[in-house]
Amino acid sequence: MPYAITEKCNGCGACARICPSGAISGEKKKLHVINGSLCIECGACGRVCPQSALLDAGGSGCLMIKRSEWLKPELIMVACMACSICVDACPVGCLAMSELPRNNGVDAFPYLKDAKACIGCGFCSRECPADALTMTKKDQE
């Protein structure tokens, strides 16, 4: 089931701007709609909507969360097998394989290259076969 937009929508367009699959469309200040065949259920729309106008895949309402409080992937280096599945799983391309080795060796590893672009969807963590990525709240520095 894809996400859906309810009548509460005020057409601010925040969801359409963040949607990584281009599934949301609508005119400014008018009700927006989600193209179900494109929605990947990343939940980013629900996290940015100031009107709480989004229903998730299970039909529950989504609450807006401050972007600084979104969960971000954190790598458990010893568990990582460097298969790069996480890098591919990321719908916004914020993860990348390192250009420098780890442990003074030559093994590559994934890292959060563009933290600002991360939408906290957790696909990287969910798809990691080794459970080497956990979604955590970054401490404010």
Binding site: S21, G22, L38, E41, A82, C83, S84, S98, L100, A108
Partner: protein, 649 residues
């Protein structure tokens, strides 16, 4: 929902610039998987028998692996399919990188192109929209430059497959490149993309890829990764030369375990086998006419694996690969970043041409990757030209002044540059050895080493006769990634399929050359298993771990919810293999015409070196292999009842 396949293909007609999405029935996936299997299904059914490989009727397909994106490991390979302009046969080429999941993220299992565009174009798929854009600004740029331009335009996450300048110039030994140095090189399918004026395919999808039981997929992947991490103590790379020498002189051998190869691949990459191969007689030298005596340790020392590893900055992993045999290298001075040359490239540009200069190998590898020309075929064609020159068939007048002598690095580099730009003698050679020998004449076909027009890889079938079987008898001739005695030993299929023979713990080398039914069963098992694996998108290096350690069959069941046995899956492999052969027969190919050149079969056996006195009688081996598939013993053509049994219409 939660199927490992997307259930759709995209068919692009470049002649009239139309794009059609088509649903593929579930039954097709159950019979052929996707990847090479789906490619064979579409091409067999839709391409007319007399299609000119360089005409509008040829269909070029980019097919993602069936297991790609399901949480399985070693399953990130995509297959490029089409009718090969190099051989006229079924053509395919296999590549890793990140392109295979990208096809599925766009909602397709495969993207096919037919027709010919009137001007250069590239396909762009994003958010469910498919668009053909003008590619005039990209035409003329090499593969890496083009990738950089496209990624600047579409963002770094875009996955791209591109032809370099060789594909544009319709060189029959050109391939399709991606990830700045990966190349689907074989079968000359870059020329098909070039003649279609399709410069690139740019994919920016984010669709999710499902699996029936994701938890089981992860569990199996962890089991597999344990074996990938199995620690084997490894010594400096130079020791493998000594191991190779030992393997050359010993009359008895034992079945090899892929764990050793896994460890070599992990530490050095494919180049770890350089000296070992030369010493033991696996690598052909001096255009398949030399031996380890022509390229002794003093020479091969210069391509010692450690020297290559010293240049490696960081490992390169294809999608879903925990092994990481690739690498990003920087050599002194010339390059800041270049893909690590593979074993095949090193030996084709090295030993085969008697070239011992490692720097030139790095240079040529990068040059050929940029041009999108197959390094194996380029090296083989250069070696052929050198032999022509040495024998007086080509003179300095023909070679534009180049002194093409064995080991003359400068002349060889200049020659390959000419092949890339198709200038002078390079134009003659840019379509591979068979075409060149046809134009040169004067008996040069004798030392144009090929099978059905395809230059074979750097594994000598006189050393492992299994290679000669597959070079000669596969629907895509001249290919080394489908089977061999060594591969059978490492696949360890008998551990999952009880009816397959288990090699003895110790056997004589001579026994490998004995023609019996077991040889045919072993070769057929390799072909079926690799056809299945190419449908699944599996990497052969992962499969070297052994069938119990890399759970291909179990992944397939967990991804689909099917409850098939390994035997059922081997039948899928058999069906794909038979369909490819039926494709060839439909297109008028006589399987017997694809036998390897007589020199490489050892019809006149070598007088010295590792393969002294060895020859392989392919005429006698072929009937047994064909019979394993239910193909006619005399002609190699699939019988009516076989096609019926496999439900091939």
């Amino acid at each position: 929902m939660n199927k490992p396949y997307m259930g759709k293909i995209l068919m692009v007609d470049l002649s009239n610039q139309t794009m059609t999405e088509e649903a593929i029935p579930d039954s097709v996936y159950k019979q052929y998987l996707s990847g090479m299997g789906l490619g064979a299904y579409v091409l067999y059914n839709r391409m007319p028998a007399d299609a000119d490989p360089l005409g509008p009727e040829n269909i070029l397909g980019f097919c993602s692996g069936f297991l790609t994106g399901t949480g399985s490991l070693f399953s990130g390979r995509w297959t490029l399919v089409g009718k090969s302009p190099l051989t006229g046969c079924w053509g395919d080429a296999n590549c890793g990188g990140t392109f295979s999941p990208a096809i599925k993220h766009c909602g397709f299992d495969a993207i096919f192109f037919k027709g010919i565009s009137s001007s250069p174009v590239y396909l762009h798929v994003k958010n469910g929209k498919t668009m053909l854009h003008d590619a005039a600004h990209l035409w003329g740029h090499d593969a890496i430059e083009t990738e950089e331009i496209l990624k600047k335009q579409h963002g770094p996450k875009a996955a791209v497959a591109i032809i370099g300048t060789s594909g544009e110039k319709v060189s029959l030994i050109s391939g399709v490149c991606s990830d700045k140095g990966r190349i689907a090189a074989r079968s000359g399918l870059g020329a098909v993309m070039g003649i279609k004026k399709l410069k690139a395919v740019v994919l920016e999808g984010v669709k999710r890829i499902g699996a029936h039981d994701p938890a089981a997929m992860k569990r199996l992947s962890r089991h597999c990764n344990k074996w990938v991490n199995f620690p084997l103590p490894l010594t400096p790379g130079g020791i493998f030369a000594r191991v190779g020498t030992f393997m050359r002189v010993t009359p008895v051998v034992f079945p090899q375990d892929g764990l050793l190869y896994k460890s070599i691949l992990r530490k050095w990459g494919t180049g770890g086998m350089n000296q070992l191969s030369i010493e033991m007689g696996d690598s052909p030298l001096k255009n398949w006419n030399g031996s380890n005596r022509d390229f002794p340790l003093e020479k091969s020392r210069n391509i010692n694996p450690d020297l290559i590893k010293d240049t490696e900055i960081v490992k390169y992993h294809c999608y879903s690969c925990p092994l990481g045999c690739g690498g990003i290298c920087a050599t002194k001075g010339k390059y800041s970043h270049t893909h690590k040359p593979e074993y095949e490239s090193i030996l084709a540009l090295g030993g085969l041409c008697m070239n011992e200069d490692l720097d030139s190998i790095f240079y040529l590898n990068d040059l050929l990757n940029r041009a999108g020309m197959d390094t194996i075929s380029a090296g083989a064609t250069a070696a052929f030209a050198i032999e022509c020159y040495e024998k007086g068939i080509l003179t300095q007048k023909d070679t534009d002044g180049l002194e093409l002598k064995w080991g003359n690095t400068e002349a060889m580099v200049a020659l390959i540059k000419k092949m890339i730009s198709r200038e002078g003698i390079g134009d003659l050679l840019a379509d591979g050895v068979k075409v060149a020998a046809g134009k040169i004449g004067k008996g040069s076909i004798e030392f144009a080493i090929q099978a059905g027009g395809q230059e074979p890889a750097m594994h000598d079938g006189r050393n492992d006769p299994g290679f000669n079987v597959h070079y000669s008898l596969e629907p895509s001739p001249g290919r080394h990634t489908l089977g061999a005695h060594l591969y059978y030993e490492m696949f360890q299929l008998w551990k999952r399929l009880k009816d397959l023979p288990k090699p003895s713990l110790l056997f004589t080398k001579d026994s490998k050359y004995k023609i019996d039914e077991e040889k045919a069963r072993v070769a057929a098992a390799c072909s079926k298993f690799m056809s299945l694996s190419n449908g699944a998108g599996m990497c052969m290096f992962g499969l070297f771990l052994g069938a119990k350690r890399i759970p291909t069959f179990d992944w397939l069941n967990a991804a689909t919810g099917w409850k098939l046995t390994p035997g059922d899956y081997m039948l899928i492999g058999e069906r794909i293999q038979t369909l490819k052969q039926a494709f060839n027969v439909k297109h008028g190919i006589e399987p017997k015409d694809n036998f390897m050149s007589s020199r490489a079969l050892g019809k006149t056996p070598q007088k010295e070196g590792a393969n002294k006195g060895r020859s392989v009688d392919i005429e006698k081996l072929a009937p047994g292999y064909w019979d394993q598939f239910g193909w006619d013993k005399n002609t190699g053509k699939p019988k009516e009842e076989t096609l019926h049994k496999l439900d091939i219409k």
